[in-house]
Symmetry: C2
Subunit: 212 residues, 2 copies
DNA sequence: TAGATTGTTAATCGATTAACAATC
DNA sequence: TAGATTGTTAATCGATTAACAATC
């Protein structure tokens, strides 16, 4: 690592979406200043944690007063890359892919599904909300046309690696992978794994511990 | 904590689904014994980590030989509560709810969506794969009839707290919450949060760091 | 016995928290 | 100035890793 960028805990970044939401609420209520303690109560973390998290990105608050809501929102947007709109390609137009394409939570955070892709011709052209489902063979072409950066993999596990390779060849910079498979891709490709089963099995584990 | 149960890292439990999958693979290939090093390579963690994780649950391996695949699979199923089938109620028959109801990954891990619920009468009775969408008012009644334990919340954020309270009143023991809202529920209710936006915003953050 | 791999200890690394000086 | 709250330090807590004795 010689790029001069400071590292901060991964957990810190994963809390920023929470901060973003609570600050958006304050903003809608026309609250201009908010203390770390108030936010902490609402989110369910310690105020120390919040101040520490923010401190990695400079002195964002005002001593004695708190944090300026709109300023902090802008900073968080920048930190999370929400200041630029990112366009996503959903590969795999099954139920999960369709659900993601129509998910308002993405748009609210500056992320836009621009197209879907599938190998099944019966799915072509029938996407949700005005979106088009393209043949997977058109991935590279449409990526350029529509300016997509992130490939979202909602394909079956068995084809995930092949599809990932196609995404890499199509020059996607990042992959959001819902298939429960470790992908082998060049190290300059950013991969984020999303395993829907981990959460519910953690819950199941607690249930088993508690009730048998 | 006076219940005599040993605590182990949360991160340990979150790796067990990975172990389960890789061991299922070995099992299908009729491989009887596997070393921590082999598994480590496949999953992308250290072999130390794997041995440590397993050690919380006893001496599960054979020194000099490795781990017995079927025995280890059985242990993991027990640890994750997969030895008993758990039935889920999906509340909110929108796209995400429908996608989860049809998600094969759940069944593969001993979890079964038994019914969906919605307040919108146009959605009643039209569930995917033979599943019924019931009026939300029937939640408690159907819970008893169908033996459901876990409430899956795929409802809009604004109604999530109200729906959670209904689930608690209906005597659900656990909630898997997809709404980006901290729920206020009694402490004996197990709540697992699933925030789909955290992963993609983490990715967006890395993208912004790397390319601006 | 020789070779292999576990299970466990101790060292290391990383993240959280408490406390308080700085300062609005 | 008095009161409030940040930003930061040091202490604590928790998780990972390396190393190796135990043992198959």
């Amino acid at each position: 690592m010689a790029d001069g960028l400071i590292a901060f805990p991964k957990a810190t970044i994963s809390r920023f979406p929470l901060y973003f939401r609570v600050l958006t609420d304050y903003n809608h209520q026309d609250i201009a200043l908010v203390s770390s303690e108030e936010m902490a109560q609402k989110i369910g973390v310690t105020s120390s944690q919040i101040r520490k998290d923010f401190s990695y990105f400079g002195s964002l608050g005002i001593r004695g007063a708190g944090y300026d809501v709109t300023y902090l929102l802008d900073m968080i947007k920048e930190i999370l890359g929400m200041d630029k709109k990112r366009r996503l390609a959903v590969i795999g137009a099954g139920k999960l892919g369709m659900a993601l394409a129509g998910y308002s939570g993405l748009k609210q955070h500056g992320l836009e599904v621009a197209a879907l892709f599938d190998t099944d011709r019966r799915k072509w052209a029938q996407g949700p909300g005005g979106l088009t489902v393209f043949p997977l063979t058109e991935l590279a072409e449409q990526k350029e046309k529509l300016g997509m950066e992130i490939a979202v993999l909602t394909v079956p596990a068995v084809v995930a690696q092949t599809v990932a390779e196609l995404a890499v060849k199509s020059e996607f910079k990042a992959i959001w992978n819902f298939a429960p498979v470790r992908l082998k891709v060049p190290s300059n490709i950013i991969v984020q794994y999303e395993d829907l089963v981990v959460g519910i099995l953690t819950l199941s584990h607690h249930l088993a511990r508690k009730f048998g």
